[in-house]
């Protein structure tokens, strides 16, 4: 019996290995040291990446989870180490990213005494986790971690936190790992209601101008094939949300563009002209709907969704199909009739031409002297691999990169959507790259955002992760400046940046770097970067005061989308 007893810290690592975790992103400290000590013995079975900040660790775990479809694992110490995870937890919750975060905690007998580096982590993380738990004895560790993985990856995925007291890590306990396959308060398998499918199919068949909006649910549900089959059969035009991008190759004949505040012209405008709106794995975020009171009022709305709480949350649906869209799409495709909607699709194409003339021309073949963000991304498209991952930060560059990046494969879009977390990109790109060194990972970041997590250059240096970082430098907190220009009388209050020599910084970390500001250098710079074997930093100096269009201003309706 005695030899079955192992240290709690070893139980932590052995359970992670049982759960097929291959890599941990983390940062050590007092209350988690026993686990770090245990990791020393298992380094051939599980990798650990030492980031330069816990926020970097959790964003890296998010990047890893997004491209791999697996659960990202993150490790931090108690107190400040743990609280540094909060932004990432909130980000992962709102973007449905599966994470298991383990934090150290002071010994159980010190709980509630304001001991050194004690923070009520379970309390603090409650609003930004799908589930959390504090573990105070060695025996509880394996069941808690098994349950955490199950919760993180099943149903609508999300972040889970386990707070482990130090005594639980140092005490001995039996290693009693059993995988978690479910429990009574948490039903993950939803039987699709056939009547709902039938009703929806009838409405779709009778529609003259049906329109599909798709979100990350298609990716999370691994329903890309079923989704494409549905579109192939029905001929319905389809537009993606920010996080849905990649779920359908952009060259698909039914793909009509991107939705939302800075999405494409036609997809936004025509939302208010369709007669049936079919939402698949998306949650009608306010950045997509604009003013909900004037959103698709003329349409019958059909919502395919896994999370019951999302149905009729912000936009009332007339019909809904609850369940995994992999199942519901397959059934729906069976139930609908073959159809085509050429005339209706042509309406999208017409407006697309308008957008091309009014916006895209300016963005990708500019007449101005300064480089635009759009032409940089356009060049990336010329050289990138089909399965290249685009990781973006938050701001103008994010919207432009998303608009112009040519998504061809699923799980190539990594960005902070719901939370809009500046500082996300650099660590998330590192995490995405750690999943697969042979994949191209292109990180597009602004001069503001990169400075929020710039320390992760250190992690890129140490791991040699061949991330390609493109800094689109406009010397401004550009997105905020754009709003100041448009809505605050050009009063540029604290948005201009005096920036450091970024290339010197990257070079100090041993990362091959280049800075360009001339159009004539762009082509070659992008090519050099993408063929370089190893990490690369490319700073592109762009127009200082360029704006992102189209745009639906706050409070406006989707049909008020403006081209300038």
């Amino acid at each position: 019996m005695k030899d079955l007893m192992i240290r709690g810290a070893d139980i932590v690592v052995k359970t992670l290995i049982e759960e097929n975790a291959e890599i941990i992103f983390g940062y050590p400290g007092g209350a988690i040291m026993p686990v770090y000590d245990a990791l020393y013995d298992y380094h051939d079975k599980i990798k650990h990446v030492l980031t330069r900040h816990e926020q970097g660790a959790i964003h890296a775990a998010q990047g890893y989870a997004r491209v791999s479809g697996k659960v990202g694992v993150c490790l931090a110490t108690s107190g400040p180490g743990a609280t540094n995870l909060i932004t990432g937890l909130a980000d992962a919750l709102i973007d449905s990213t599966p994470l298991v975060c383990i934090t150290g905690q002071v010994a159980a007998h010190l709980l509630g005494t304001d001991a050194f580096q004690e923070t009520d982590m379970v309390g603090i993380s409650m609003p930004c986790t799908k589930w959390n738990i504090q573990v105070r004895s060695a025996e509880e560790i394996a069941p808690a971690i098994a349950k955490a993985f199950f919760i993180a990856r099943s149903g609508r995925p999300g972040p889970v936190l386990i707070d482990i007291t130090k005594n639980a890590q140092t005490d001995f306990g039996e290693f009693n790992y059993v995988p978690c396959l479910g429990f009574r308060s948490y039903q993950t398998k939803i039987e699709i209601n056939r009547d709902d499918v039938q009703k929806a199919a009838e409405v779709i068949d009778a529609a003259e101008r049906p329109y599909v909006l798709f979100g990350q649910g298609v990716v999370l549900g691994k329903a890309e094939t079923e989704f494409k089959a549905f579109l192939d059969k029905t001929g319905i035009p389809a537009a993606s949300t920010l996080l849905g991008s990649g779920a359908l190759p952009q060259d698909h004949p039914n793909f009509v563009g991107k939705l939302g505040m800075h999405g494409n012209y036609a997809p936004n405008l025509l939302t208010n002209q369709c007669d049936v709106l079919i939402a698949v794995g998306m949650r009608f975020d306010d950045r997509v709907t604009g003013d909900v009171k004037r959103y698709a009022k003329q349409a019958k709305i059909i919502h395919l969704e896994l999370d019951p709480a999302e149905i009729s949350k912000t936009v009332k649906s007339h019909y809904s199909i609850l369940g995994d869209c992999k199942d519901s799409l397959a059934l729906l495709t069976e139930a609908v009739s073959q159809n085509s909607h050429e005339e209706w699709l042509e309406k999208f194409r017409e407006l697309e031409r308008e957008e091309n003339a009014a916006v895209v021309q300016h963005d990708i073949t500019p007449t101005k002297v300064g480089l635009t963000m759009g032409e940089v991304i356009h060049q990336v498209n010329q050289y990138k691999a089909d399965d290249a991952v685009l990781v973006t930060d938050v701001g103008q560059h994010q919207m432009i990169a998303w608009r112009y990046f040519n998504y061809k494969k699923s799980r190539t879009q990594v960005t902070s959507g719901g939370l809009g977390t500046m500082g996300f990109a650099l660590p998330a790109a590192l995490g995405a790259q750690m999943f697969d060194f042979s994949r191209q990972v292109v990180c597009v970041v602004g001069d503001g955002g990169i400075q929020m997590t710039i320390q992760e250059f250190g992690t890129i240096m140490q791991t040699k992760a061949p991330v390609k970082v493109i800094l689109l430098n406009n010397n401004y907190l550009g997105m905020v400046r754009q709003w100041q220009q448009m809505f605050f009388d050009k009063r540029y209050s604290f948005t201009e940046l005096d920036n450091p020599d970024f290339v010197k910084i990257a070079e100090a970390y041993g990362i091959k770097s280049q800075k360009i500001s001339d159009r004539s250098d762009l082509n070659e710079a992008i090519e050099d970067m993408l063929i370089h074997d190893g990490p690369y930093f490319l700073e592109v100096v762009v127009e200082k005061e360029d704006n992102v269009f189209p745009m639906i201003a706050t409070g406006c309706s989707v049909e008020e989308v403006r081209l300038s």
Binding site: V122, G123, P127, W131, I133, R184, Y186, Q187, A309, K313
Partner: protein
């Protein structure tokens, strides 16, 4: 705005009450009263929450509560869908105990549940309107202390907890 009773059937998990109440806090909705107790089935707790809100927001609340991993089931009823009761205690100085007060106690069906040298404690069970009415009267009798419980309630609908626990 109407009064609703939300029922939550949940695992007895540390912090569950916290997880439920932050859903209200986040939306700026006040909880009028809340009671928690073990249910008929060991290990399963039931929480009864009284709230004044629009039906739309109650639906959102219930959806979000049910999303909590350790919650088994959440549902809501209007007042006419539940049988409910509250208990109120009133502490009155002995010096005020006269024939008039005795009549009031009788009329309201209140009980004296404790008599101390300086004070007596009256108990009345009923709906808020009833316990409130007595409260207003007793304010004229030197009321020293008053406490009222949250609502304990059962739904009129014929559903048992077992049907939620698979």
């Amino acid at each position: 705005m109407k009064r609703y009773t939300i029922f939550v059937i949940t695992e007895n998990f540390i912090g569950i009450l916290n997880r439920i109440t932050i859903i209200f806090t986040r939306r700026g909705i006040n909880i009028d009263a809340l009671t928690a107790s073990e249910s008929r089935i060991e290990g399963i707790h039931r929480i009864t929450i009284e709230v004044t809100a629009s039906e739309d927001s109650v639906i959102q609340l219930v959806n979000q509560i049910e999303k909590i991993i350790d919650v088994i089931k959440a549902f809501y009823h209007e007042d006419d869908g539940v049988v409910y009761q509250e208990i109120a205690l009133y502490k009155i100085p002995v010096s005020k105990l006269d024939g008039g007060l005795e009549k009031i106690i009788r009329q309201h069906n209140a009980k004296i549940i404790a008599a101390e040298p300086d004070f007596v404690v009256l108990e009345l069970s009923g709906h808020k309107e009833q316990t409130q009415e007595l409260l207003e009267i007793l304010k004229g009798y030197g009321l020293l202390e008053f406490a009222r419980s949250g609502r304990v309630a059962v739904a009129k609908r014929m559903h048992t907890i077992d049907s939620y626990v698979k």
